[in-house]
């Protein structure tokens, strides 16, 4: 029984590692595309775009980082008022 639990833990760890790899390659591809399109814009408009991105994206970024940190809170915990 102990070995079965250890096996289950190992396989879930392996699948988690695979998921993490997939997520990170996806994120890298997306960010490369964004950086290339960003580098093509003029400097003053760049500042404006950066400010707009920061303005709209900062709180979602904090929430995203928080939801992914250990221990993972669930979506129900995020949305419920209690």
């Amino acid at each position: 029984m102990a070995s079965a639990a250890a096996d289950a833990a190992q396989s879930s760890a392996a699948s988690a590692a695979r998921l993490a790899r997939e997520w990170s390659t996806w994120a890298m591809k997306k960010s490369e595309k964004m950086v290339i399109s960003f580098a093509r814009i003029k400097p003053r408009k760049k500042k404006k775009k950066a400010k707009v991105v920061a303005h709209y994206g900062f709180i979602p970024l904090v929430v995203l980082v928080g939801m992914r940190s250990e221990p993972r809170p669930s979506l129900a915990q995020l949305l419920s008022p209690v």
Binding site: K51, L61, V65, M67, P81
Partner: protein, 334 residues
């Protein structure tokens, strides 16, 4: 002289304290100096100038005085609710219904009644990363990021972004912490550049300087400050080329009571302000009160009603300008 003495003797293991007196400069220093014979402690403690503690950051030298003398006074109703989703992540909701003062040219005080709701998200994973964001109903975002790039170098970002153009502000700070000094470099919007450096001179005294340049208005300035603190008191002095001289002194009278006073002189506008205040930290409440040289009396009470529930009362009375601000509120959540 100091270096030869401490380099030649190999450091003995930290001695058992036979006298029962705590070493005034910390356990590390007691491990380096040889143990003292009885009765000679106070006179013969030799300061090891190569092993001074790291000083308080430049912008925080007045933090004890600011904590005691400048509580967040408000007018109206205030309600804060903080919900911890995990040890590191929390969401906060905050409602403020009351009057905000609008700065006006004339001597009159203009108050605008406002109601605002503020949503906040905090992710605090010290020491590596700290993200704090606050978003208000009028679209203003207040963002603070603190990130440790290496063990000694930290990056701090502080930004207020608004929907109206040209009102946003941002500041990037790079902090380097050495063994007994700290250095900081700042870049802000409107081409603001600043740098400051603070060094521990003795175990109780630290001194620092700063220099800044404001690109848009082509102004530069230089400042000097120093802080002297012991277990019982903190005294600070700040002088800047913008014509400001500021002194502050905080005395910790007992575990529960501290008294603070500060003095500020502005040479450009020939304005002098001084205030005296007290800070009682009791088991169930924290009460701060102060009186100003302008005749302004203020008090702030935070009472702990229950685990995680705090009741706030704030009052500020200015008879000369006929400005009376009273506020009450509640804070729920850790």
């Amino acid at each position: 002289m100091g270096s030869a003495a401490s380099a030649s003797a190999p450091p003995p293991p930290p001695p058992v304290q036979p006298h029962g007196a705590a070493p005034p400069y910390g356990v590390g220093l007691a491990g380096i100096l040889p143990p003292k014979p009885d009765g000679d402690e106070k006179k013969e403690e030799k300061v090891d100038y190569l092993n001074l503690p790291c000083p308080v950051a430049y912008e925080e030298i007045q933090r004890e005085a600011l904590m005691s003398l400048k509580p967040e006074l408000f007018e109206g109703l205030r309600f804060d609710f903080t919900k911890m989703l995990s040890q590191k992540f929390a969401l906060s909701h905050s409602v403020l219904m009351g009057s905000l003062e609008v700065p006006s040219q004339s001597a009159d005080v203009i108050k605008v009644p406002t109601a605002q709701y503020e949503f906040g998200a905090n992710f605090i994973d010290l020491p590596q990363l700290m993200l704090i964001g606050r978003l208000m109903t009028d679209g203003r975002l207040n963002a603070r990021v603190k990130c440790d790039l290496t063990e000694n170098l930290a990056l701090k970002v502080n930004a207020q972004l608004t929907s109206e153009p040209h009102y946003s502000q941002g500041m990037f700070n790079f902090d380097y912490k050495g063994t007994d000094y700290r250095a900081q470099f700042q870049i802000g919007n409107n081409a603001f550049y600043g740098a400051n450096y603070i060094q521990s001179v003795t175990p109780n005294l630290s001194m620092g300087t700063e220099i800044f340049w404001l690109g848009q208005q082509r102004k530069s300035g230089i400042g000097f400050n120093s802080r002297y603190n012991t277990d019982k008191m903190v005294g600070t002095l700040q002088v800047a080329s913008t014509g400001i001289v500021a002194l502050s002194y905080v005395q910790k009278v007992s575990e529960k009571v501290s008294l603070a006073t500060d003095f500020m002189y502005n040479h450009m506008s020939r304005d002098v302000t001084s205030s005296v205040g007290y800070d009682y930290i009791l088991r169930q409440c924290r009460l701060r009160g102060k009186i100003d040289s302008n005749g302004v009396v203020a008090a702030y009470l935070e009472e702990r009603l229950n685990m995680g529930v705090n009741f706030l009362l704030s009052a500020e009375i200015d008879h000369a300008k006929k400005n009376y601000k009273f506020g009450f509120g509640m804070t729920v959540g850790e």
